[in-house]
Symmetry: C2
Subunit: 196 residues, 2 copies
């Protein structure tokens, strides 16, 4: 897989988010990106450590997860290629990451230094609007999740999850789904049993 093709995907991705940049214009930017490969289980960023990087997933699936002081795992979200990935908080505020991003299968991605990326991109016409659009979407998703945690039962959250993420169904374990919807694997097993 050539870098050229990856950049095409990247541009495509942003185009879908209403960013109009022609690819020649974009090429010089490509030089700043590293093409990386992560094996299943490896971490792209690590909880408690600086995470100044932005990733563009070309292939594979990742999971955002953190471990509480008491040792409980929580899965904030999943992301599958093609998509942008990284910790907004850690990148933009220059603080340590509150979660890790871990590869759920073999992952190929482009890696950018956020500060450099943002400095270069913010002058590109349309970039800031595309980034706004992205942030709005991210915010709206979190809002929906907040609502689900407070107003819905675990069973409802599980059904919603299945409904919205059919492509993940066979890729991730019950344990991960459970920690994403905020219950224990045992509780999810009970729910499954009840549903069938």
């Amino acid at each position: 897989m050539s870098l050229q093709i990856d950049m095409e995907n990247f541009i495509q991705y942003f185009s879908g988010n209403k960013l109009s940049i022609d690819s020649t214009n974009f090429e010089k930017f490509g030089l700043k990106a590293k093409l990386k490969h992560y094996q299943k289980g490896q971490q792209l960023i690590t909880q408690g450590q600086p995470a100044p990087k932005l990733f563009f997933l070309v292939k594979g699936i990742v999971r955002y997860m953190s471990v509480s002081p008491e040792g409980k795992e929580f899965t904030q979200s999943f992301a599958s290629a093609p998509s942008l990935s990284g910790s907004t908080r850690a990148m933009t505020r220059n603080v340590d990451a509150l979660f890790s991003i871990e590869a759920l299968d073999d992952v190929i991605c482009l890696e950018f230094e956020w500060q450099v990326f943002f400095e270069q991109m913010k002058s590109q016409p349309g970039f800031l609007s595309a980034y706004n659009r992205l942030l709005e979407n991210m915010f709206i998703k979190k809002e929906e999740r907040e609502y689900a945690f407070v107003q819905q039962s675990a069973e409802q959250r599980y059904l919603t999850f299945l409904d919205r993420n059919p492509q993940l169904r066979d890729k991730i374990s019950l344990k991960m789904i459970a920690s994403h919807i905020g219950i224990t694997p045992i509780a999810l097993s009970r729910i499954r049993n009840k549903l069938k």
Copy 2:
């Protein structure tokens, strides 16, 4: 309170968010804003209805709240002047609001049509960056809240709330705090009793 002073606050607010616009530049924009007054209990936007407006709170406190199909209230958040207010989802996606915004005391605010506001502002140097910054902050807050709901007990969430919102403490009822941290007023009363 003159409109002029309100615009000053508004500019000030954005300046704090790294937007540099000189006030003369801004004046022509001011003509598009309506200065509004809401009595305690009135709604700025209403759940289930279009909410294309952006508000700049000049005075007062509001609460974002929704009622579930089963009739349970949930308080998404509070906002006190000076700050921007509105439903990101409803404004930017042109859909009905999922929550209401209700005045908790007498509220004075500037009211903008989001579409017009955004169209005019997006060409102002610095505005898109300021808006990005705002969205990032909003997202990070929701992330923290998501984490709290999953990893913390109701008691911990209550203590965090008190800690972070000392200015709200005497302005809002126990019922509202309870519905904000995701429990019933009765449960919160028990927690208070246990704590004292």
